[in-house]
C-alpha cells in the first residue's frame, strides 16, 4: 500500500512537473506557430513587392521603345517575355491616351477596368487577390530648346501579380512551425517526464523528512520552551527563597549581635555574681568565727552555771535559790548554744549554697563564655551565609536573565520551526495536495 501510495504521489508530482514544463513549451510552440508564418508571410510579401517593382520597371524600359514607335509586335514580344514570370497573371500596356496598346493575360477576367488607368508615378494596388503594379513608360527625347534628353511618358505599364505564393508560403511556414512545435513539445515533455522522475522521488522523500524534522523541531522547541518556562519559574522561586534566606540571615545576624551583647553582659554579670558570692563567703566565714566565739562563751557559761549548780547543791537549802539561778543560766547558755548551732547549720547551708552558687556562677560564666564564642561563631557563619546568599541571589538573577534570553531564543526557534513546518507543509501540499499535512494547512487557512 505504501509503495502504491508513493507511486501515486510520484505520478502526480511528475504530472505536475510535466504540466509545469509543458506549459512554457506549449506557449513557446504557440508563439512559434503564430509568429514564424507571419514573419515568413511578411518576408514573402516584401520580396514579392520588390520583385514586382523591379520587374515592372524593367518591363517599362523594355516596352518603352515599342510603345513610342507603336510597334505592336515588339510590344507583344516584350509582354510575352514579362508573362514568363510565374507570378505574373497579366501584363497590359496603355498608351498616353489611355487606350490599350497591348495586353497579355493568363486570366482575363481578373483584370478590372479601374486598374487599367494610366499613372504618372509608380503605384501598387491589391485587389481581387492580386497585386497590381503600375509604372509610367518613359522615353528619353531631345527637346527643341535644349540638347539634353528629357523623359517623356508615352504610356503606362500595368502588371498583375498573383499573391497566392504568399499564402502558400504562410501555409507552409505554419505547417513547418506546427511540426517543429509538436516535435519540441513531445521532446520537451519526454525530457520533463524523464527528469521529473529523478526529481520527484528525492523531492518526495526530502519533503517527508523535512516535514517530520520540522514537526519534531516544533515539538522539541515547544518542549524546550515549556522546560525553560518551568526552569524560569523554578529559578524565580529559588530567587525568592534566597531573598527570604537573605532576610532571615540578616535577622539572624542582628539577633546574633544582640545575643552576643547579652551573653557578654551575662558573662560580666556572672563574674560579678561570683565576686559577690565570694565576698559573701568571706562574710560568712567571719560570722562563723563570731559564732564560734559565741559558742565558746556559751559553752563556758554552761560550765559555769553547771558548776554553780553543783556548788548550790553543796550549800544545801541555802543554795537552793542559787541552784535555780544557775540552772536558769545554764538553760540560757544551752539555748544560746542551740541557737548558735542552728545558726551554724544555717550558715553552713548558706555557705554550701553559696559554694554551689559560686560553682553555678563559674559554670554560668563558662557557659556564657562558650555562648559568647558560639554566638561569635554563629555571627561569623551567619555573615558568611549572608554573603553567600547575596552571591547566590546575584547568580540567580544572572541565571534568570540568561533564562529569559534563552526563552526569547527558544520562542524565536519555535517561530522558525513553525515557519519551517509551514514551508514543509506547503511543500507537501505542493507535491501532494491530498496529503494529511496539506489538508491540515487548508483547514488552518480556512480557520
Amino acid at each position: 500500500m505504501a509503495d502504491m501510495g508513493s507511486t501515486i504521489r510520484s505520478f502526480r508530482l511528475r504530472t505536475r512537473v510535466l504540466a509545469a514544463v509543458g506549459f512554457p513549451i506549449a506557449a513557446f510552440a504557440a508563439f512559434f506557430a503564430i509568429y514564424f508564418p507571419t514573419v515568413l508571410e511578411e518576408a514573402a510579401k516584401e520580396a514579392l513587392w520588390e520583385r514586382a517593382a523591379a520587374l515592372t520597371k524593367v518591363g517599362a524600359n523594355l516596352v518603352a521603345p515599342a510603345v513610342d514607335t507603336k510597334d505592336e509586335g515588339r510590344i507583344q514580344v516584350a509582354l510575352q517575355t514579362l508573362t514568363e514570370d510565374a507570378d505574373v497573371r497579366y501584363v497590359t500596356v496603355l498608351e498616353e491616351s489611355g487606350s490599350v496598346a497591348g495586353s497579355l493575360t493568363k486570366d482575363e477576367q481578373l483584370v478590372s477596368s479601374e486598374i487599367r488607368e494610366k499613372v504618372e508615378s509608380f503605384a501598387t494596388r491589391v485587389e481581387n487577390g492580386m497585386l497590381h503594379v503600375r509604372v509610367p513608360v518613359l522615353v528619353a527625347r531631345t527637346g527643341a530648346t535644349s540638347s539634353a534628353p528629357v523623359n517623356v511618358q508615352v504610356g503606362t505599364l500595368v502588371i498583375g501579380f498573383t499573391v497566392d505564393g504568399i499564402a502558400e508560403v504562410r501555409q507552409n511556414a505554419a505547417d513547418t512551425a506546427m511540426m517543429v512545435t509538436l516535435i519540441i513539445f513531445l521532446f520537451g515533455g519526454l525530457l520533463a517526464w524523464m527528469f521529473s522522475g529523478n526529481i520527484a522521488r528525492p523531492l518526495l522523500s526530502t519533503s517527508g523528512r523535512l516535514n517530520t524534522v520540522a514537526q519534531d523541531l516544533v515539538d522539541a522547541a515547544k518542549a524546550r520552551e515549556i522546560a525553560a518556562s518551568r526552569e524560569a519559574e523554578a529559578v524565580e522561586q529559588t530567587r525568592r527563597t534566597m531573598d527570604v534566606l537573605l532576610t532571615s540571615a540578616e535577622q539572624i545576624s542582628e539577633s546574633a549581635s544582640d545575643v552576643l551583647l547579652n551573653a557578654e553582659r551575662t558573662q560580666a554579670g556572672n563574674m560579678e555574681i561570683a565576686k559577690r558570692i565570694d565576698d559573701l563567703n568571706h562574710h560568712a566565714e567571719k560570722v562563723a568565727e563570731i559564732l564560734a566565739s559565741i559558742m565558746q562563751v556559751a559553752d563556758r557559761a554552761d560550765l559555769l552555771a553547771l558548776n554553780a549548780a553543783v556548788e548550790g547543791t553543796k550549800a544545801g537549802k541555802a543554795g537552793r535559790g542559787f541552784l535555780m539561778v544557775a540552772n536558769e543560766m545554764r538553760r540560757l547558755a544551752e539555748n544560746v548554744t542551740a541557737s548558735v548551732e542552728s545558726i551554724q547549720r544555717v550558715l553552713q547551708e548558706v555557705r554550701s549554697a553559696s559554694m554551689d552558687a559560686v560553682t553555678a556562677s563559674l559554670g554560668g560564666t563558662e557557659s556564657s563564655a562558650q555562648t559568647t564564642q558560639s554566638v561569635r561563631d554563629i555571627a561569623g557563619v551567619t555573615e558568611q551565609q549572608r554573603l553567600h546568599t547575596i552571591e547566590v541571589s546575584r547568580n540567580m538573577e544572572d541565571m534568570t536573565e540568561l533564562l529569559n534570553q534563552a526563552m526569547i531564543d527558544i520562542k524565536y526557534t519555535t517561530k522558525s520551526a513553525r515557519a519551517l513546518s509551514g514551508v514543509a507543509d506547503g511543500l507537501s501540499r505542493l507535491i501532494n495536495p491530498t496529503s494529511q499535512s496539506a489538508r491540515r494547512v487548508d483547514r488552518q487557512r480556512e480557520a
Binding site: 559558742m295 553547771l306 558548776n307 549548780a309 553543783v310 547543791t313 553543796k314 537552793r320 535555780m324 545554764r330
Partner: protein
C-alpha cells in the same frame, strides 16, 4: 520508775545528781561528789597505761589524771557532742581525779530507786525525760579506776 524533779531542786526522797552522757548512755553522779566540771583540754597520754586511763591534764595549775567513763562503764560510743568533752572532777582523799564524758547535762533532783541494780557501778536508777538513768557509785568508780590504773602501771 522514779521521776526526777524539775530544775534540780531537791525535795523529799530525791537526790541532786549531775547527769552525764558517756557514749550512748546517760548516767548520773551525786552532785555532792563533784568537785568541778571543766572543759577537757589537752590530755597527755601516759605510756603503757590501760585503755580507760586517758592520761594527765592540767586544770587550773593542778595535774589531774583523766579516765574515760565510757570505757569504764563498758558502753558503746555515742554521737559526737556539739560542745567539747567535759571533765568531771572528783576528790579521792587528797587527790583530784577527772572522768571524761561527752556531755554534762546539768543538775537535776532524781528520785533514786535502789531496788533494781544490774549495771556496773550502779547504786540506783531513776527516770529523766522518760529515759532511764543509772546513778553511779562514785567511790566504787574511783576505786576501780585507780586499781586498774595501778595494775596497768605495774
Amino acid at each position: 520508775m522514779v521521776e526526777a524533779s524539775v530544775e534540780g531542786v531537791e525535795t523529799e526522797g530525791t537526790t541532786n545528781v549531775v547527769v552525764l552522757r558517756a557514749g550512748d548512755s546517760l548516767v548520773a553522779v551525786d552532785a555532792l561528789d563533784v568537785v568541778e566540771i571543766v572543759l577537757r583540754g589537752h590530755v597527755t597520754r601516759v605510756p603503757y597505761s590501760p585503755e580507760h586511763f586517758l592520761g594527765l591534764c592540767v586544770v587550773a595549775g593542778r595535774l589531774i589524771p583523766v579516765f574515760s567513763l565510757r570505757v569504764l562503764l563498758g558502753v558503746e560510743p555515742g554521737p559526737p557532742a556539739v560542745t567539747l568533752p567535759r571533765l568531771v572532777i572528783f576528790k579521792d582523799d587528797e587527790h583530784d581525779i577527772a572522768f571524761s564524758c561527752e556531755e554534762a547535762r546539768g543538775v537535776v533532783a532524781l528520785k533514786v530507786d535502789d531496788t533494781l541494780l544490774g549495771r556496773p557501778f550502779e547504786r540506783g536508777s531513776g527516770m529523766i525525760e522518760d529515759k532511764a538513768v543509772s546513778l553511779l557509785d562514785t567511790d566504787a568508780l574511783l576505786r576501780e579506776a585507780m586499781v586498774h590504773t595501778y595494775e596497768g602501771e605495774r
